[in-house]
């Protein structure tokens, strides 16, 4: 039991505070390159917080890396969908992109509440609803044991409602995790080809900052899909994922 409690506490512990503060100081001092490295370090230390991605996106934007900044802010938005500051920055950066394409959807339209809730928040709500349903069931069971009477219908109804709510929120959380296949183009332009190998042809060209969905992965290439249905293969090094739980690659930045 104590081991389990320790695991729970360790799971909720924070990390990356020092690196994050160093990143903030570097930003205020105008050292954008240093700030980027500090923020990435904070992420690797466990500080996957919207503010870290916000700061990283700002530092990348000021360094002139529009594509990478969009990827960082997209990650921040998926952790904090109601954060207006990150949304404003993202909107500003998107206006500077050449390609007019809609970003891939982050959830199914049926789970509309996920536009305002992060996967963590909906997961916690799902967990709380399930817990509430089970607590009601436990209380009803104890009363039944003591009184010897059957479980009242009202308690059974509330248990069913809360467990159904928890299951629905759990399903929407799962959907958000499944739809985290977005990526951003981080090179100035890249040709998207119909197939891997010499027999493929160039289908279209994407420019820095274009937001696409990914649907398959080869050794060095990724199959991307645009919101208008067009698909093609592109070099994986030209993309950065918008999934906040993935490592943020710094290899694409010049000078590294």
């Amino acid at each position: 039991m104590s081991g389990w409690l320790l695991w729970v506490m360790l799971g909720c512990s924070s990390g990356g505070q020092e690196a994050f503060e160093a990143g903030i100081q570097a930003t205020r001092g105008g050292e954008q390159r240093g700030a980027v490295e500090h923020f990435v370090q904070a992420l690797e230390d466990g500080g996957r917080h919207p503010a870290t991605y916000h700061g990283l996106g700002n530092a990348l934007y000021r360094s002139g890396h529009i594509g990478e900044s969009i990827a960082a802010w997209r990650r921040g938005m998926s952790l904090a969908p109601r954060n207006g500051d990150i949304a404003a920055n993202l909107e500003r950066a998107q206006r500077q992109c050449l390609d007019s394409i809609e970003p891939p959807q982050t959830h199914r339209p049926a789970f509309f509440w996920q536009s305002a809730l992060s996967a963590r928040e909906s997961g916690l709500l799902s967990s709380a609803a399930l817990a509430a349903g089970l607590v009601i069931a436990v209380v009803a069971r104890i009363r039944r044991t003591r009184s010897g009477r059957k479980q009242p219908r009202r308690a059974a109804g509330w248990t069913a409602v809360m467990i159904a709510l928890g299951a629905l929120l759990g399903a929407s959380t799962w959907d958000v995790l499944q739809q985290r296949n977005g990526a951003v183009v981080v090179v100035s332009q890249v040709a998207v080809r119909s197939t891997l190998g010499p027999e493929g042809v160039d289908l279209f060209v994407l420019h820095e900052g274009a937001q696409v969905g990914t649907s398959d992965q080869a050794q060095r290439h990724t199959l991307i899909a645009l919101s208008d249905g067009r698909k093609g293969w592109v070099s994986s090094s030209a993309l950065i994922s918008t999934d906040p739980s993935r490592k943020f690659p710094l290899d694409s930045l010049p000078g590294r």
Binding site: L79, G123, A131, L134
Partner: protein
């Protein structure tokens, strides 16, 4: 006389109307056209002028009286047959006829005539594609044509899989049905048109589309009575007619989607493929500083405009712009795809003087010339006069009671800074997984424990039930019978006192009451006295004690 006088007062003035069922025809199609003269007597058959792509034939004349709201009306109707002979837009009318010395007129009606249905060469269905070698991003229209000269009860179609294409997202597929006459035979033509956007370069094939039609069965007429009934109900299902189902398929269509050429591709090419026109119209040519004007920008063409956005304006243009979301509409008709985007752009000048709004330039690829080109609008000159705030001397407002404040002027735009949190923590789902798991796990464990406990309780055997069963199967042998009675009594007494049965004695039993003492003594007597005559009565006493009576 009085009645006639009143009737004449109530009489309406003569009027004229022209009725036509359809205003969109195809070459070869014929529809009825009716001219009605109400409460008037025209001289002769009205002459109706029609465009050179139409043919009008007079069919006949009829007359009727209609009484409505206690008023009688006389309607003279002239019926014509209007046939379409050439594609284009043609007028019917205007009409100008003399009725009872009064000239009556009707405005012209526009009739749009499309191409005749494609020659199917005897095949019932045919699938066509407007271009079998389109460029990537070009819109093509797939048309399915079903021509028949037999009545059908129902038609279902299964569209083919359009590999290499994506559906045009704004326009919907168009369906149409009309009748034509060919070789003195009436045909019904049904068309379905699907707009598609070429999306994958390379050779491909549109597989066959399938049409499943239920034809009304042709039956041999057996007798005159049946003939009459068939005529009344038109051979409908009311009279038990049967339908004959037939499936028709189109031929596959080979095609090759070509890539857009790299040569000559403008750097700001946004992917518009087709022939387009661009217009820009301002809401005003003169305004005051601080006011805004609206530019209405219309882009029309035969390519898809899904996701279209106007090019941005540089920050040093001398004015700011705020664009509404484009209103994009599209339709497909007679194998022609037409789309239109209307954007309302609010323009806010930043300084007084003559403001020149540069023309908008949008690079496109024209599939007909196979070249990149640019559609553009002319630049506009707008006169910006001093505004209410800018014109006045600000110092003149000092000392007055009015609010002298003004809006904070924006000098530039930039990204928003980070709000530093008090404590940084992992905000991903994985970071909160322990809590997410622990929250329901705790009550779940308690609930499971309660369920298991209840289950174990339900498996415990009731000791009184065991004794009851023993009492129900007492042996006939008096010695064994007495032993069991004594054992049952001791077990039940022990259970009630909460002590083991072997340790029971007379003192302990006395605390259970008179009846228990009596049974105890009777059992002692029976055991040591050797009497077994009253065992049945004793068994009855033990049973009552067992049930607590």
């Amino acid at each position: 006389m009085i009645l006639l006088f009143l009737m004449s007062l109530l009489a309406h003035a003569a009027s004229l109307s022209v009725e036509i069922d359809q205003r969109e025809l195809v070459v070869g199609q014929t529809v009825p056209l009716k001219i009605k003269v109400i409460d008037g007597s025209p001289r002769g058959v009205p002459e109706v002028p029609v465009g050179s792509g139409l043919l009008l034939r007079f069919q006949g004349q009829s007359q009727q009286h209609v009484v409505s709201n206690f008023q009688s009306r006389r309607i003279v109707q002239y019926t014509y047959e209007l046939s379409a002979t050439r594609p284009g837009s043609w007028f019917v009318g205007p009409l100008d006829i003399l009725v009872d010395g009064q000239r009556l007129g009707a405005a012209p009606i526009t009739i749009r005539v499309g191409e005749a249905p494609a020659d199917q060469g005897g095949l019932p269905v045919m699938g066509t594609l407007t271009d079998t070698a389109p460029f990537l991003g070009q819109v093509v229209v797939f048309r399915l044509q079903f021509k028949r000269n037999r009545p059908v009860v129902g038609v279902e179609w299964t569209p083919p899989t359009f590999d290499g294409f994506v559906a045009e997202k704004v326009a919907e597929q168009a369906q149409r049905e009309y009748s034509i006459v060919e070789n003195n035979q009436n045909f019904t033509v049904q068309t379905i048109e699907v707009p598609l956007v070429a999306a994958a370069v390379g050779p491909n094939t549109v597989p066959p589309a399938v049409i499943s039609a239920r034809y009304r069965a042709q039956r041999r007429r057996r007798n005159a009575r049946r003939n009459t009934l068939d005529d009344i109900f038109g051979g409908s299902s009311l009279m038990g007619s049967r339908a004959e189902r037939k499936t028709h398929t189109t031929s596959p269509i080979p095609l090759n989607i070509r890539p857009l050429p790299q040569a000559g591709r403008p750097a700001d090419f946004g992917g518009l493929v087709g022939r387009f026109t661009l217009q820009m119209k301002p809401s005003a040519r003169k305004l005051k500083l601080g006011e805004s004007l609206t530019l209405t920008i219309v882009l029309k063409g035969d390519g898809t405009l899904h996701g279209f956005r106007l090019p941005t304006v540089p920050s040093d243009a001398g004015f700011r712009v705020y664009d509404d979301a484009p209103e994009i509409t599209a339709e497909v008709k007679d194998r022609i795809f037409l789309s239109q985007a209307v954007v309302k752009r609010a323009v806010v000048p930043e300084e007084v003087g003559t403001l020149t709004i540069p023309g908008i330039e949008i690079p496109i690829f024209d599939p007909e010339t196979e070249q990149y080109t640019t559609v553009r609008t002319e630049s506009l000159s707008i006169v910006v006069e001093p505004g209410e705030e800018g014109a006045g001397d600000v110092s003149s407002f000092l000392g007055e009671d009015g609010d002298a404040r003004r809006a904070v002027e924006s000098l530039g735009e930039d990204i928003l800074p980070v709000s530093v949190p008090d404590r940084l923590q992992d905000s991903t789902l994985m970071g909160s997984l322990p809590i997410i798991g622990a929250l329901p796990a705790l009550p779940l464990l308690v609930w499971l424990a309660l369920v298991v406990n209840g289950w174990l309780d339900s498996r415990k055997i009731d000791p009184l039930l065991v004794q009851r069963r023993r009492m129900m199967s007492l042996p006939k042998d008096p010695v064994r019978r007495l032993a069991i009675l004594e054992d049952v009594f001791r077990e039940v007494a022990g259970l009630r006192l909460g002590v083991p049965a072997p340790s029971l004695d007379a003192d302990a039993v006395s605390s259970l009451g008179e009846d228990a003492q009596r049974i105890y003594r009777a059992l002692e007597r029976a055991r040591y006295g050797g009497s077994s005559g009253g065992l049945d009565a004793l068994a009855a006493q033990v049973s009552r004690f067992l049930e607590g009576k």
